[in-house]
């Protein structure tokens, strides 16, 4: 067949027309703003979207398709747009895949087409279209199967470069985002006739109402149509209604806010585009705001989405949805073509012919697929002077960068070529159901509407208007008002239905058509179903022929509906094609699952303010600011920040610092903020019984004023946490936990008390934050303390010995708590003061301790000293070890019951060959030991079969001048003195080490009793 050829339609048609407008309801024609597209500057008006401004400037061509790089134009006028995806802004602000149809133009907007090289009009990868027989359904699965090694290195980078859409910015997102929560009685989604009527009635009832509109203006389709309500244009009625709503104190109207998801318990996610429509957000202003809306009732009134028709080469620029053509005329004053063909299977599409004629364009043909010409079709054809093809179809189109000719096949099968620069197509409307389905409700197919409608609703949800399958304006108003009344009443706000405004009852008369007309077209023509993912009717047919029946499988095999538009325009046509191929009806074929979000949501908006260093909150000790001033290096311990070490001048390596800190404590005195240890105040007559049941050891006989070490097990018998508990009064204890497990221990105690032993009269509460607690350790610690405590406290060893505790006063009457505890193995104390004085206490200790050589030490020195003393800590209490493993089997009381007792007695947990805590010293003191290394018998090959344990903690001991380690070794206590191999598979190193008791330093404990 000889193709008619014409010079490029786009440029020809619109030369000299740039920016010409007719009167419209949504723009300010007196103000001109400028934007650029692919580097060329254009005019626009406030109120324009990028799509309307491009069309006004004669630019139909907006992008290249995903797979075949075919020239694509603007298809829609809403968020469902699959084609006109652009890159906006530059640099760190560059944002790909922005829909031109919802992007509001601002002065200075910089937009670029994407997925093309070197230019939009001349795209080298357009050759992909020539290879289209290769790029069929399942292309990737069939082509890139082997060799497997090529996947990551060759295929994926290649595919990603060739396909894909825009480019994300290379830099971090420079904008701010925030999240917020709000509550209402009635949430109304959509501000068309149904939504406005619902909000008005619900608002008048006194209920708290939120009206969300994803668009920048309210009114919905009333802005897109020439529909009169109460004798005025519909958009004016909408403006008046919104003005009335704004007077109601409990009604909140949120524009530019897309409700994108339905979640449990009446919670809805919504994204507000706060500053997308300006060149740059104001200082501190968020770019977007994520709303969590909790609503007792939700009325979905989000309207519908028009379907394209599937015919060969239905994707050329200049082929648009009929409803979108009307939107551009009535809202934006832009006539998308001057010689139009309307192609429809319903009366609604015919309205485009009327509006085009009214706007001054010529309508050369109306192709109505319905076999019987409707009254309206005949009337419209007569009024517009268009030739009516009843029972006809468009069998092909022509025009490389813009349609210039359509091949129309009439009922008899005769094909005529008709010149055109615009084809307005309508396959009918789909109710926008997404929000009704997010919790799992299945839509049902309505053969009369040729669309899915909501089969059931999540609790608290209602629908009205087109979203509910109600298409006539008068009915939308009525249904909206009724739903508004119903929703308000359900929240306890009764109101009467107001008289409804006069509105038309439009005809629809849709007749489903066989979607696939491919057979009549040439071999190389494509009838697109999914424009964004380049899925054609042929792909769906091939998938069906290859045995795919399930709609979810077809979706994934062909990628139909899997692009960023999530198949909003393609879903039903894809189902219809599959149904046709498999011989089932659409109802039986079913539809794919809709999942949130309804529209794309930036990750930044989901993160809100919680990003970078503010991703998590920080917990700071009372001495944090002081430590910072000392130049401390901090480490994270959960969300706590703790001083890790305090470097001094001349120290070039952290180990120099840590060694000095250890030596200072061992020879003079040091102090360390230990506030982060969990502290739990326990009171009540049953407090000792409670402790007895939590810990493996006994508490009844602990005297007032004494401290005891305790170990807790989990219910399964493994060690859970350890710490000391002091008895401050007859019925008053204060427990300490490890920093890491403080929350878990509290939770465990709550469970035990609330659920296991509610009969115990005991109360407990966290006092971790109440007390700033300082460990003061070293042979001179008593001397330092004497400068701090009030004279009535006798610090002598006889009066205040090891494991004593007392409530005392310091600094002339300030209440404090003193504990004689030692983690370091030295003479040591822990002094607690109310947290507000923690900073001052640190400064005071530095001052009064100076003559004794005091220095602060951090968690690293703390760790070295506890390894020297063989105290278990986090690496030893790792959830896999038992009391027996920790050499604490003898602490397990046999005279009482406690959590974990029964399970700890299981044979596997008491097996003497279990890896058990030992000390390890390298044969050559300077051979480094590394935590995580495996322990092997000396001379054994490094295999799993020979694995006898592991190193849990290792450190360089400045005290012993060599490496030391704690570890768990099978049958460990019986093997002291044996040589083993320490194997570090990461470094592939082996070090010979000698097994020893885990207490390396002062095993008799003379120093801490000094």
């Amino acid at each position: 067949m000889k193709l008619p050829w014409k010079k490029d339609a786009c440029s020809h048609r619109l030369s000299g027309q740039a920016g010409r407008r007719i009167p419209a309801n949504g723009i300010d024609p007196d103000t001109i703003i400028r934007f650029t597209f692919d580097g060329i500057s254009y005019d626009a008006h406030p109120g324009d979207t990028l799509a309307s401004a491009l069309l006004a400037n004669g630019q139909h061509l907006a992008g290249r398709s995903f797979k075949y790089h075919r020239p694509r134009g603007i298809l829609t006028a809403g968020p469902e747009e699959p084609n006109a995806l652009l890159e906006l802004r530059t640099g760190a602000w560059r944002e790909p895949n922005s829909r031109a149809t919802v992007t509001e133009v601002f002065d200075g907007l910089d937009a670029c087409s994407q997925n093309r090289w070197p230019s939009l009009r001349m795209d080298a990868l357009g050759v992909n279209g020539l290879f289209s027989p290769l790029f069929t359904a399942g292309f990737y699965y069939k082509t890139f199967m082997w060799p497997a090694a090529f996947w990551e290195k060759v295929y994926e980078p290649l595919i990603r470069r060739a396909a894909g859409l825009g480019r994300a910015a290379d830099e971090a997102d420079p904008d701010l985002y925030e999240k917020t929560t709000t509550f209402c009685d009635v949430l109304v989604v959509g501000s068309g006739p149904a939504g406005l009527a619902a909000a008005l009635v619900a608002g008048r009832s006194g209920a708290r109402v939120i009206l969300c509109e994803q668009d920048s203006v309210t009114g919905g389709r009333l802005r897109a149509e020439r529909t009169d309500i109460d004798g005025v244009p519909g958009w004016q009625w909408a403006d008046r209604t919104v003005a009335a709503l704004r007077q109601m104190p409990e009604v909140r109207i949120m524009t530019r806010t897309c409700v994108f998801g339905t979640y449990d318990g009446g919670t809805y996610g919504a994204l507000e585009r706060v500053a997308d429509h300006v060149s740059c957000p104001a200082s501190d202003q968020p770019r977007q705001r994520l709303w969590r809306i909790v609503a007792r009732r939700c009325i979905v009134a989000g309207g519908g989405i028009e379907r394209p028709l599937v015919f060969p080469n239905n994707d050329r620029p200049g082929i648009m949805l009929a409803g979108a053509v009307r939107t551009y005329i009535n809202r934006f004053g832009v006539v998308a073509g001057q010689r139009a063909i309307v192609f429809t299977n319903n009366d609604d599409g015919l309205r485009t012919a009327v509006d085009l004629k009214h706007a001054g364009a010529a309508v050369t043909a109306i192709v109505d697929t319905r076999t019987q010409a409707s009254d309206m079709a005949q009337q419209v054809a007569h009024d517009t002077g268009a030739r009516l093809f009843t029972g006809g179809a468009i069998s092909n189109t022509y025009g490389r960068l813009g349609v210039h000719t359509a091949a129309i096949r009439d009922r008899s099968g005769r094909v005529r070529h008709v010149a055109c620069d615009l084809i307005a197509m309508s396959g009918g409307w789909n109710p926008e159901l997404s929000l009704t389905t997010h919790l799992g409700a299945k839509p049902v197919y309505d053969p009369e509407l040729c669309a899915f409608t909501a089969g059931s609703f999540p609790p608290g949800m209602l629908a009205a208007g087109v979203a509910n399958g109600t298409f006539m304006t008068a009915d939308c108003l009525h249904e909206g008002a009724a739903r508004g009344q119903e929703a308000a009443a359900a929240c306890g706000f009764d109101t009467e239905l107001p008289p409804l405004p006069a509105a038309p009852r439009e005809s629809y008369g849709i007749q489903a058509i066989q979607p696939v007309l491919q057979d009549q077209a040439g071999r190389d023509s494509k009838a697109f179903i999914d424009f964004q993912n380049d899925v054609t009717a042929k792909d769906v047919r091939l998938a069906a022929m290859e045995g795919f029946r399930c709609v979810e499988h077809v979706k994934r095999y062909t990628t139909l509906g899997m692009a960023t538009d999530q198949g909003k325009t393609s879903n039903i046509n894809g189902l219809a094609a599959l149904a046709q191929q498999t011989g089932q009806d659409i109802a039986r074929t079913g539809t794919t699952m809709f999942r949130p979000p309804v529209q794309p949501v930036a990750i930044g908006a989901l993160a809100g303010a919680h990003r970078g260093r503010y991703f998590k909150p920080d917990r700071l000790t009372p001495t944090h600011e002081w430590a910072r001033q000392q130049g401390a290096v901090f480490t994270a311990n959960g969300i706590w920040h703790r001083a890790q070490w305090f470097p001094q001048d001349g120290e070039t390596h952290w180990r120099d610092t840590v060694n000095r800190e250890v030596r200072t404590v061992r020879t003079a005195v040091g102090f360390c903020d230990v506030t982060t240890l969990g502290k739990i105040d326990i009171q009540g007559p049953d407090a000792a019984t409670f402790l007895d049941r939590l810990y493996i050891n006994g508490w009844q006989k602990l005297p007032v004023g004494r401290v005891r070490y305790g170990l807790m097990l989990r219910e399964d018998g493994f060690a859970f946490d350890d710490g000391t508990t002091a008895r401050l009064g007859e019925q008053h204890y204060v427990m300490t936990t490890t920093t890491a497990h403080a929350g878990a221990v509290m939770q465990h105690m709550e469970l035990c008390h609330q659920w296991l032993w509610p009969e115990l009269d005991v109360h407990f509460i966290s006092v971790t934050d109440e007390w700033a607690q300082m460990a003061i350790a070293g042979p001179r610690s008593r001397d330092v303390l004497r400068h701090v405590v009030d004279p009535d406290t006798d610090l002598s060893n006889d009066a205040f010995g090891y494991m004593h505790a007392a409530e005392i006063t310091i600094c002339g009457g300030q209440a404090a708590r003193l504990f004689r505890l030692s983690f370091s193995g030295e003479l040591a104390y822990e002094l607690a003061v109310p947290a507000r004085y923690g900073d001052a206490l640190a400064r005071l200790l530095m001052k009064v301790g100076a003559p004794y050589g005091i220095a602060p030490y951090g968690t690293e020195a703390l760790g070295v000293m506890r390894i020297e003393k063989g105290h278990p800590a986090g690496p030893e209490l790792n959830g896999q070890t038992t009391a027996h493993d920790l050499n604490m089997g003898r602490m397990l009381s046999t005279r009482k019951d406690f959590i974990g007792r029964a399970m700890a007695a299981r044979p596997a947990l008491t097996d003497p060959v279990r890896p058990t805590l030992v000390g390890l010293r390298p044969v050559h003191a300077h051979d480094e030991l590394v935590a995580g290394s495996h322990l092997l018998p000396h001379g054994a090959e490094a295999t799993g079969a020979h694995d006898q344990g592991w190193i849990s903690s290792a450190a360089w001991s400045p005290t012993l001048d060599g490496w030391i380690a704690l570890g768990f070794l099978s049958g460990g206590p019986a093997r002291h003195g044996e040589m083993v191999m320490v194997h570090n598979p990461l470094a592939d190193s082996q070090v010979a080490a000698v097994v020893c008791p885990p207490t390396f330093f002062d095993p008799a404990g003379d120093r801490l009793h000094a």
Binding site: R252, I253, M254, I765, V767, D769
Partner: protein, 201 residues
């Protein structure tokens, strides 16, 4: 004679006012009043005895719903969970802990919390909108009024929130170690401004 210890606070003493609000601040964020603060817990079995004692000593019972109640000498009982209360009193008057222990013995556990919790006060007509960016509960006057309290989260930080008056003024009780993070988050939220849809016509 050893020197006395000076107190420090984890948040600045001067209230934060978001930029542009200096003339007529619609929200301020700063430290709450300096309070004596104690937790009080007692078992259901002791309810009658303790409530009677509290009524006799303070002229008020501890509330059993999520509210605060004021007793004599400006002693305030704030519900803080089942069988648990925060009790506060202004600094400078009789020692709150001693008083409570005396009145409620031997039934109740009284624990000092004046340093364990910091109080951050958010005040002004915009405070509801700003707090809603962090606190996921309904602060609308129909749901939350003066003397209402709730244990909830502000972002990721556990807080107890108490509405003080209709300004509105809210006090957030937060673990001291997290106070500076909460203060940062609140100031950040305030800088972001009030959503346009929240502005009353």
């Amino acid at each position: 004679m050893p020197e006395t210890l000076a107190a420090t606070s984890p948040i600045p003493s001067a209230p934060f006012i978001p930029p542009g609000g200096e003339q007529a601040a619609r929200v301020t964020i700063g430290p709450g009043p300096d309070l004596q603060l104690a937790s009080m817990q007692f078992s259901p079995a002791s309810h009658a005895a303790v409530q009677t004692a509290l009524m006799a000593a303070y002229g008020v019972e501890a509330p059993v719903t999520s509210h605060a109640r004021d007793g004599r000498d400006a002693v305030r009982f704030i519900w803080a969970g089942p069988d648990q209360w925060l009790v506060c009193a202004p600094q400078g008057q009789a020692d709150l802990l001693d008083g409570l222990r005396r009145v409620t013995q031997p039934h109740a556990a009284i624990t000092a919390q004046g340093d364990g919790r910091s109080v951050i006060r958010v005040r002004g007509p915009d405070s509801r909108a700003i707090l809603s960016k962090l606190v996921p509960i309904d602060l609308h006057p129909r749901a939350f009024a003066p003397d209402s309290t709730a244990l909830t989260l502000a972002g990721h930080i556990p807080v107890q929130i108490l509405q003080h008056d209709m300004t509105p003024t809210y006090d957030l009780f937060v673990f001291r170690s997290l106070a500076h993070s909460l203060y940062h988050d609140l100031c950040h939220a305030a800088r972001g401004g009030v959503p346009v849809s929240e502005v009353c016509p």
